[in-house]
């Protein structure tokens, strides 16, 4: 019997072989070493569509998910509301079964949506140019580092803030290892950014990468840092959380040269970590050193507006080993999701999401911090400035009286997914738990978390 995904019958195959002028399919594989052909491959038997779906339900049911659990976990991926427009539009066949818009005359849909995505990212970050996206924020950070090395004369190292996401720092190291470019600054994750710069910033620094909000949730005006970085001749690279930019000043306000960020929060599913999209924007003067796909506006032979892949002379299919990167695809469908999300939310919606996140997170922090019982148990909210004001967006650190893993096991029994365990990467925070709150968390859920902490 034919397989449902292959629309050929044996009669078709016989007629086709005859037309080709060979006797059998094996004649088409005569150049493949005979003794290597048709090995025993250890796979399960084929499943019908119905049996496949039953199996998938069984597997999926073994995962705790955000429709059944209250999530207080962020650490680079966030449970935000996704309006119905997003899945309905991005799963139209014309978008998700198309490929790279090589032939612009029949790819204007993809091209114009990416142009709109690029425009919105520019507006959100305040920078001049954005590309069509990278794989995720970690790889965008690595590409930004390479770009800084290529842009700054005498630039031979990259400084990272210890409060940049640990996965981004690790990915940058992997990417730059082959080119022997050192990534420094996060050896002691307890150090402040100013102390890190005191130690490392010099004329051989190509770029300084700082997160805002940082991995521990803090937001600050980075202008003094930017001034120090620029005075040393280095590029100032900011990693951001796009939802926060619904209310906070854009990185252009503190003179960022490159902005990267994890775009997942803009309408993309949590999906156990991917696919997401890496936001990448820069000042115009660095444009031609940017990696990745860019869409530009132009005109057709009749003078009508149209969009094309552009500045391709930077890319691997033209420049081969001299390209700015080996990147070939982007995360087009995820960028489309981000675009539809921003279109649906608009400037007011994005502001409101950001404020809801802020208010709910600050409520949660206050409830934890002001509970005498929790204080006596040894819980303490860490993110405070000198005026003892909470200076974070929607994520904050709580020091706990016992291991976070242990607390999270107890929380899971009450259908709560607790915060991220900072023990490994930030050992100076005593049993640090990074708690994230979004517009998806109700007051009831937050109160339940506080109660559960009291009992755990």
């Amino acid at each position: 019997m034919s397989h449902r995904f292959i629309p050929l019958t044996d009669a078709d195959r016989a007629a086709m072989l005859q037309r080709i002028g060979v006797n059998s399919v094996s004649d088409l594989f005569a150049d493949v070493p005979r003794d290597a052909q048709y090995p025993e491959i250890n796979l399960p038997s084929a499943l019908s569509e119905l049996d496949m779906l039953r199996t998938l339900h069984d597997i999926a049911n073994r995962n705790a998910h955000a429709s059944e659990y209250a999530f207080f976990l962020g650490a680079g991926a966030y449970n935000h509301f996704v309006p119905a427009t997003v899945p309905h539009l991005i799963f139209r066949s014309e978008f998700f079964t198309a490929y790279t818009p090589y032939q612009p005359e029949i790819s204007q849909g993809t091209l114009q949506t990416i142009f709109e995505y690029q425009s919105m990212i520019c507006d959100l970050t305040g920078l001049d140019a954005a590309n069509a996206s990278h794989y995720d924020a970690a790889t965008a950070a690595a590409e930004a580092a390479v770009m800084a090395i290529n842009s700054v004369k005498n630039g031979r190292k990259i400084i990272v803030s210890p409060t940049l996401h640990p996965h981004y720092r690790a990915t940058m190291r992997t990417y730059l290892e082959g080119q022997k470019i050192p990534i420094v600054g996060d050896e002691d994750t307890a150090l402040s950014l100013d102390a890190v710069l005191d130690q490392h910033l010099d004329n051989n620094t190509a770029g300084v990468l700082v997160a805002n909000p940082d991995f521990l949730g803090n937001v600050r005006d980075l202008k003094p840092i930017a001034d120090r970085v620029h005075a040393a001749g280095a590029l100032f690279i900011v990693s951001t959380y796009p939802i926060a930019l619904g209310m906070y000043q854009p990185p252009s306000a503190y003179d960022a040269d490159i902005v990267i960020g994890e775009g997942q929060s803009l309408g993309n599913a949590l999906g156990f970590g991917g696919p997401y999209l890496g936001i990448f924007a820069c000042k115009e003067k660095y444009l031609r050193r940017m990696a990745g796909r860019l869409i530009g506006q132009t005109t057709d032979t009749k003078g009508r507006r149209g969009f094309v892949l552009t500045l391709q002379a930077r890319e691997q299919h033209i420049r081969r080993e001299k390209a700015t990167s080996n990147i070939c695809t982007n995360e087009a469908l995820n960028a489309l999701a981000a675009c539809v999300y921003m279109a649906t939310m608009g400037k007011q919606g994005l502001r409101q999401v950001a404020e809801l996140c802020y208010q709910k997170a600050h409520y949660a922090a206050r409830e934890i911090s002001e509970s005498r019982q929790l204080r006596e148990l040894g819980y303490r909210v860490v993110n405070c400035d000198s005026a003892n004001r909470f200076e974070f967006f929607n994520e904050f650190v709580v020091e706990c009286p016992k291991s976070v893993a242990e607390i999270n096991r107890a929380l899971a029994k009450q259908k709560i997914i607790g915060g991220y365990d900072l023990a490994q990467e930030y050992p100076h925070l005593k049993n640090g738990m990074l708690i994230a709150v979004t517009e998806m968390n109700t007051r009831e859920q937050i109160d339940a978390l506080v109660n559960a902490l009291r009992e755990s």
Binding site: F5, A66, E105, S107, V219, L333
Partner: protein, 485 residues
């Protein structure tokens, strides 16, 4: 519908009507605090449109796209096969789509089981049992693989190897990847039969060679006839062999790269394993290696301990290659695809993709010029357009644009770089015989038009939302965003 599709669609920004909203959110249900006024932004210039405007805008834009669900999409080396709909049902299950990558492993055992099983399947299919699912795309798989090769040499104290050999027919990602990993690229010539030139290979391999990267079948759609000899030459010189798995569709289930002497390969889940291409991504590019190289794979991989699945860091890992664990929702789709074929049917993918390509070639080979006419192709073939250019003044771009007028997406053009005026055609196994007959008839008609009425091709395409676009202008005066008035 082309009346709607061909109507110019304004940018969302141009549709903006201040005060309109397309969203609704619940009221704030907690006591509020003061916002940090010194850190707030004053403006955010995003468009303001209603929900129905959003839906119509993107729906109208979608109609300006061609896609696999409309018909043959014969982009060579891209494997634009049908994307089964059951895959999409799978990824929408809340137990996959709403799972956080950092939640405790004991609450994500289903996701980890699926990853573990896909690692096993890809190991079995490739004959290379060390597997990482982390790379986000083929190009990232390449970087992972080359860094593994680098780590292997360095772990042996072999520090003098500074070169990667790459055939001249290779994808641009191969040399770009090698350069990113810190290697010099040494190009190897192809011979007249489309194989690597073995004399040139022998001349270029040395104790400086870290490895070779090549695609098999290669970008001419031809299986390397001396694959084992090539791999032996590399191994004798102490180098490793990287297989670019972009063309794995041609041999999946029929032969395993591991049995042919490859040490490392990547596989594009969005090609061979039916993950939709999404308009240019997301992809997914798992890497498979021979057992002794598994210690260098990116961290972490999924392992099984008794009944439990855990994340483990390989002993001498090259480190992380991206955030989290990989493009999980792509991984789910590939898993569904492999289980839908199972061990009974897997090889039919390769057999029928090769059958379809050879059949299509047979239908047009008297009017177009195959680059290597004497050989059977694999899943794709390359035509040389030099004669059309010389005799009719029609270049390959003209042919490609005319194909659009017939309601099809054009093949890959001007690649591989070693074939002038080339067209690279990959029909995949998901085309019926009737659809190939129709496509071939269109190609034959176009060949006739090239002879009789070349202007028709020069002016093509004729009935599309836009005609040919000015690439030079786009690059010379880049407009990469909407400019606010």
């Amino acid at each position: 519908m082309s009346i709607v599709a061909n109507k110019p669609e304004p940018l969302l920004y141009e549709m903006s009507n201040p005060g309109t909203v397309g969203y609704s959110l619940p009221e704030c249900d907690v006591p509020m605090t003061q916002l940090p006024s010194d850190l707030l932004r004053s403006e955010l210039n995003l468009p303001e449109v209603g929900e129905v405007d959003v839906v119509r805008h993107f729906t109208r834009l979608s109609q300006k796209n061609y896609c696999v669900d409309l018909g043959i999409y014969p982009l060579g080396s891209c494997t634009m096969k049908y994307n089964p709909k059951v895959n999409e049902e799978a990824i929408r299950l809340a137990g996959f789509s709403q799972v956080h990558p950092m939640q405790p492993a004991e609450t994500a055992q289903g996701a980890m089981q699926l990853m573990y099983e896909l690692q096993e399947y890809l190991g079995a299919i490739s004959g290379l049992p060390g597997v990482t699912l982390q790379p986000a795309a083929g190009a990232q798989g390449e970087l992972t693989g080359v860094l593994v090769i680098r780590a292997y040499h360095l772990a042996r104290g072999d520090t003098a190897r500074s070169e990667i050999l790459i055939p001249d027919s290779a994808h641009g990602t191969n040399p770009a990847t090698s350069a990113m990993a810190g290697y010099q690229v040494v190009q190897v010539k192809s011979d007249a039969r489309g194989n690597m030139d073995s004399e040139d290979l022998r001349a270029k391999v040395s104790n400086k060679t870290a490895g070779i990267m090549f695609t098999n079948p290669n970008t001419l759609g031809l299986f390397e006839e001396h694959v084992r000899a090539v791999n032996q030459i590399l191994h004798d010189a102490g180098g490793l062999v990287y297989g670019d798995g972009a063309n794995l569709n041609a041999i999946v289930g029929v032969a395993r790269p591991g049995d042919l002497g490859f040490d490392v390969i990547h596989s594009n889940l969005h090609k061979t394993f039916s993950v939709p291409h999404g308009g240019g991504g997301p992809g997914s590019g798992p890497v498979m290696v021979r057992p002794d190289l598994a210690q260098f794979l990116p961290s972490p991989v999924v392992a099984q301990e008794g009944e439990t699945y855990v994340f483990k860091n390989p002993a001498h890992s090259i480190g992380r290659i991206k955030s989290f664990w990989g493009n999980f929702l792509a991984i789910v789709r590939a898993y569904v695809y492999i289980r839908s074929f199972g061990k009974e049917h897997l090889q039919e993918i390769a057999q029928d993709s090769v059958l379809n390509a050879n059949y299509l070639l047979a239908l047009i080979r008297d009017v177009y010029d195959p680059q290597v006419p004497e050989r059977v192709c694999k899943h794709e073939f390359v035509l040389n357009g030099t004669r059309f250019k010389k005799e009719y003044g029609v270049n390959t771009l003209d042919v490609a644009k005319r194909i659009i007028d017939y309601g099809y997406y054009p093949p890959t053009i001007y690649f591989p770089l070693i074939v002038p005026e080339c067209l690279m055609i990959e029909p995949t196994e998901t085309q019926s015989k009737a659809s190939l007959d129709e496509f071939a008839a269109a190609l034959r008609q176009i060949a006739e038009e090239a002879r009789a009425n070349p202007q028709l091709l020069h002016d093509a395409p004729h009935d599309t939302p836009v005609t040919r676009l000015d690439d030079v202008k786009a690059a010379r005066e880049p407009v990469l965003r909407y400019k606010h008035l």
